[in-house]
């Protein structure tokens, strides 16, 4: 078993005790809730006559069902309205902070918690959403949970958990120009597979990871779950501290100094033992695009859709299913595949840096005819910051729609969805069958800059072939 890693240290700090079934009772430092996976948990709490143990360690927002065109209440969709009003009632009754629509702090749960400084190194963080792994970018141990566990955290501020093994994923060297954190993680998942991480926490390390911004680290950790790992993390460093300083819920004054000293000591020791290690060369990573129906079915932009015989026998059945569903054939180059819809946003790539990267492609260009392209900021804060820099004007001038913050078409629990067999270039995290709202809709995952490039050309294209025009604030 691993020893001396950040995972081990944070785990040990949060162990309340052993449970009869052999699992550990783990204290949850921050519990994030939203409208989709919490209503049944609150109902169960009432059934069991329990209350919320630490309302001050629980923070709510609304994201999945929020419309991105008009957010006027009541919502046009009565089910969505019922979910939001249920969350509002629950937060009110139990004294939980709700970052609601128009508060200036609403947005995708995995975007707002870091931006408010709620997410900090050394915490355990749980949320009824698998992309909770995002918060590991700060050196927190953060994982998605189901609704029964949301109930458990509400009732006790703890969870029954089993310790994971630790796999270090070292990415050394430098990413080439035009290659992003999204490409990096799509590449890692392609190599290790969508079930390669089952049973593991992924420690992302190496010079290429250290060189990433906090937003980019969030993108990487966000998709650890797509590789099967329950959580992913990056050791906290100066980049982490610089990001946190001055944020609403970050420590200040004298406690800041103490906090930084404590955070530094949490990083994996130089002689830490990990259960497994994989080494990647950043320079070998190309802009990566998925062609199939799992996030592991990725290709470098210059590659062709693989033939069955090029794949491991275990990967062939899902590849055959992917050829049929995607209507893409072995030997077809991924560059040049036409798209219908281009979506920039989500908890993977809906942050300011993502919008800047996409705007640099959109600036001075125009969305190709017949293409629907839209940008959904990850939070109200991201929207404000982007508008202050003029990114909204760049997108609008290029023919993109500029929307209100929310999860949008990533999982299409709101009015944003694919229709029929439409194919999308998407900056989100999942290309599962039916994921983007149409039972036969198709998704190609890629970086925000690559989505913007696809939007202006009408097909998948290597963003490195385009000149970039960074937007000056």
């Amino acid at each position: 078993m691993s020893t001396g890693t950040l995972y081990d240290k944070v785990w040990d700090l949060h162990c309340v005790g052993d449970l009869p079934g052999g699992s550990t009772q783990l204290f949850v430092g921050l519990h994030l809730i939203h409208e989709v996976t919490s209503p049944q948990a609150f109902a169960a709490l009432r059934d069991k006559r329990l209350t919320v143990r630490c309302p001050e360690r629980t923070v709510a927002t609304v994201d999945h069902i929020v419309p991105t065109t008009s957010q006027a209440r009541p919502f046009a969709d009565p089910l969505a309205e019922e979910m939001l009003s249920t969350l509002e009632r629950n937060c009110e009754e139990y004294g939980i902070q709700l970052n609601g629509l128009g508060s200036g702090r609403q947005g995708i749960v995995h975007v707002i918690a870091p931006e408010l400084g709620l997410t900090q190194p050394g915490m355990t963080i749980a949320c009824g959403d698998s992309h909770t792994s995002t918060h590991g970018a700060f050196g927190a141990i953060a994982f998605g949970i189901g609704t029964s566990q949301v109930r458990d955290v509400l009732a006790s501020q703890t969870l029954a958990m089993n310790k994971l093994r630790v796999r270090r994923i070292s990415v050394d060297g430098q990413l080439a120009d035009g290659v992003s954190a999204k490409d990096l993680i799509l590449h890692v998942i392609r190599v290790l597979g969508v079930k390669g991480g089952v049973g593991y926490a992924y420690e992302f390390a190496g010079t290429a990871i250290e060189a990433l911004s906090m937003e980019e680290r969030m993108t990487v950790c966000n998709m650890a779950i797509e590789g099967g790992a329950r959580c992913g993390y990056v050791n906290p460093d100066q980049v982490t501290f610089d990001y946190l300083k001055g944020r609403v819920h970050a420590p200040s004054d004298e406690s800041w100094q103490r906090a930084v000293a404590w955070w530094r000591g949490l990083a994996s020791d130089g002689d830490a033992v990990v259960d497994d290690e994989m080494v990647f060369n950043a320079a070998m990573i190309a802009p990566t695009v998925t062609w199939g129906i799992t996030p592991g079915q990725g290709l470098g932009i210059d590659e062709r859709i693989p033939a069955l015989e090029e794949l491991d026998p275990g990967e062939r059945p899902i590849a055959e299913e992917a050829y049929r569903y995607m209507d893409l054939h072995p030997g077809t180059a991924i560059a040049g595949v036409p798209v219908d819809v281009c979506f920039i946003g989500s908890c993977t790539n809906g942050r300011l840096g993502d919008l800047r990267a996409a705007a640099a492609v959109a600036q001075g260009r125009h969305v190709a005819s017949g293409i629907k392209a839209f940008v959904v900021p990850g939070s109200e804060q991201v929207a404000r910051d982007a508008e202050a820099e003029g990114l909204d004007r760049v997108f609008r001038a290029a023919g993109f729609e500029w929307r209100e913050p929310g999860c949008s078409m990533c999982l299409a629990m709101n009015p944003d969805r694919l229709e029929g067999r439409q194919i999308s270039a998407s900056s989100s995290n999942r290309n599962f069958k039916g994921r983007q709202g149409s039972a036969s809709g198709r998704t190609l995952l890629m970086s925000p800059a690559m989505v913007a490039a696809a939007a202006v050309h009408g097909h998948v294209i290597d963003v490195r072939r385009l000149s970039l025009n960074p937007v000056k604030a």
Partner: protein, 204 residues
Amino acid sequence: MSTFPNGSIPQIEGRALALQGEDIDTDRIIPARFLKCVSFDALGGQVFADDRAELNGEHPFDRSEFQGAKILVVNSNFGCGSSREHAPQALMRWGLRAVVGVSFAEIFFGNCLALGIPCVTASPDTIESIQQAVLAAPDQSLCLDLSSMRLASSSVDWAVAMESGPREMLLSGRWDATSQLVENSAENKALMARLPYLNDFITA
């Protein structure tokens, strides 16, 4: 519909349903649009909605011989994707009480455990043989026994596996963790008193 799991779960007996395919994700088990609800009650009828519509009555969850089945037999990485408990809730409300497969996504496994639904594993060859046996004779009753860790029909039996912790929780009836977690509040309070980030980062 039979009652939901309760108390000690030593075995599950009933007919089985074979669902073939790798990496079957939670979006397929219950598409996102059905997550628009504040209760799990209606999910049973919506399980695999899009796959079933596509196969127009031929999906295993629609075929008459599998109606009333209690044991689901799947391949590898079943339940990958979302943390949505709606997925096991939908399976449970359809009538399933156990899942046998090559491997499971972690959150899905934990969600099932929290509902008293054992997810047990076996080698790819064993799963293939179980699936073939189920497809050949869908009306036979199987028994999954968590004490002996065997899945048996009247003619064949197969070894299955589950880690001792979850298995013990199901056997003892302590798979619903809430009451234990709430009980240890003194230990929890002590831990909160020494966690640096809850105490102004004072570490001494």
